[in-house]
């Protein structure tokens, strides 16, 4: 799917409207932030009101929720997971540690700035962010989608080399198939 800003405006609007109300989150608890996802998704905060749902596999999912720090070992899996996802796809950085390392700023095993390795559409700040924050983050994502600004996947595609370079800097042994973009 490509996004051409100059054409098919109305189609875009309809598409984006549909997309923003059906955000399926990949069930991958990459870090400690995963603990606030169940409360968000269950009866007390009921994320389904916004069309949020868990998806079991990357191919069915729209949103990759990076719930916090990423160990380099996990980063490798996350990149692969992300690349397996189908467009349109969005990445949400969840928690302080995705922004600038959080409390793991001097750890030898976690990356500090997520946007160097994956295109992040929205950051939710907090450690941990409350379910209300999480919902606000999704509302923000929906807003960006309807404005056509949540184009992280496009960015990733365009700057793949730059991302790859950064990724390979921290993943010393790159034994992954390169997907055909």
């Amino acid at each position: 799917m490509t996004y051409d800003k100059n054409s098919k405006k109305i189609v875009d609007i309809i598409q984006n409207f549909a997309r923003k109300h059906s955000l399926w989150i990949l069930a991958y608890g990459t870090g400690c932030g995963a603990i606030e996802v169940p409360p968000t998704m269950t009866s007390r905060y009921d994320g389904e009101r916004f069309g949020l749902r868990g998806a079991a596999t990357p191919r069915q999912a729209d949103v990759l929720l990076i719930t916090g720090y990423l160990a380099t070992k996990t980063l490798k899996r996350v990149i692969r997971t992300y690349e397996q996802m189908q467009s349109p796809k969005y990445v949400i950085g969840f928690g302080s540690c995705t922004i600038n390392g959080g409390m793991y700023w001097d750890s030898y095993n976690t990356i500090k700035a997520l946007d160097r390795y994956l295109p992040v559409d929205v950051y939710i700040n907090g450690c941990m962010p409350r379910p209300e924050s999480v919902i606000s983050g999704f509302i923000k994502l929906q807003q960006l989608i309807s404005e056509g600004k949540a184009n992280g996947a496009e960015k990733y595609q365009k700057n793949l080399e730059w991302y790859r370079e950064n990724q390979k800097k921290v993943i010393h042994n790159w034994k992954m198939p390169d997907y055909n973009w």
Binding site: T72, K73, K76, I99, N100, G101, W105, D106, S107, Y108, N109, T110, I111, K112, A113, R116, N166, K169, V170, I171, H172, N173
Partner: protein, 196 residues
Amino acid sequence: MHIQDCTENTCVDQIQKIFHTAEVEIQRKKRVKVKLRLDLVPLFLSYARDYLNFKHLAHISCVDWIEENEFELIFMLWSYEASLMIMVKTRVNREKPEFITLSHLWPQAETYEREIHEMYGINFKGNERLGEFILEDWEGVPPMRRDFDTIKYSKENFYQRPGREDAQDVRETISKHSGEEVPDFAKEFSIRRIEE
């Protein structure tokens, strides 16, 4: 001999009777500390397990005493019958750290040994699963050793978000304002934040 109602004192007596070279002391209630020569440790552990009934291996830990060029291995055994813990401590040379595996006594010892091998580089002879455990593609000094500098490593290998370079040091700001010259021998004594 089984000691069903083993107390701290009987336990110490019993150990000292058999292991003359062991330094045994009661650290506190329910904790007996045993310092042993490295080569006696496997013998002692199997003795403690089979004769003193310390069946539960609670923990294996390692401390890097880099100043003394030694690693300290600590084994913690718990006796459910006596509600007592023995802490066995021994030192390994840091240059060529080697010990033998305990997985024949306790299968889960294998996990502890894998971690200590990875984090400190101690070789447990007989453990076949030493190798990558928690880290992936790690090169260089095992990270939990004291001489591994995690701040430096993190700075060199990971991108840190810019924008904070304009931060100022309170001490410097004030001494610049007042014209105070702080000599180097004084600077060593300032309470500073963690080096960034």
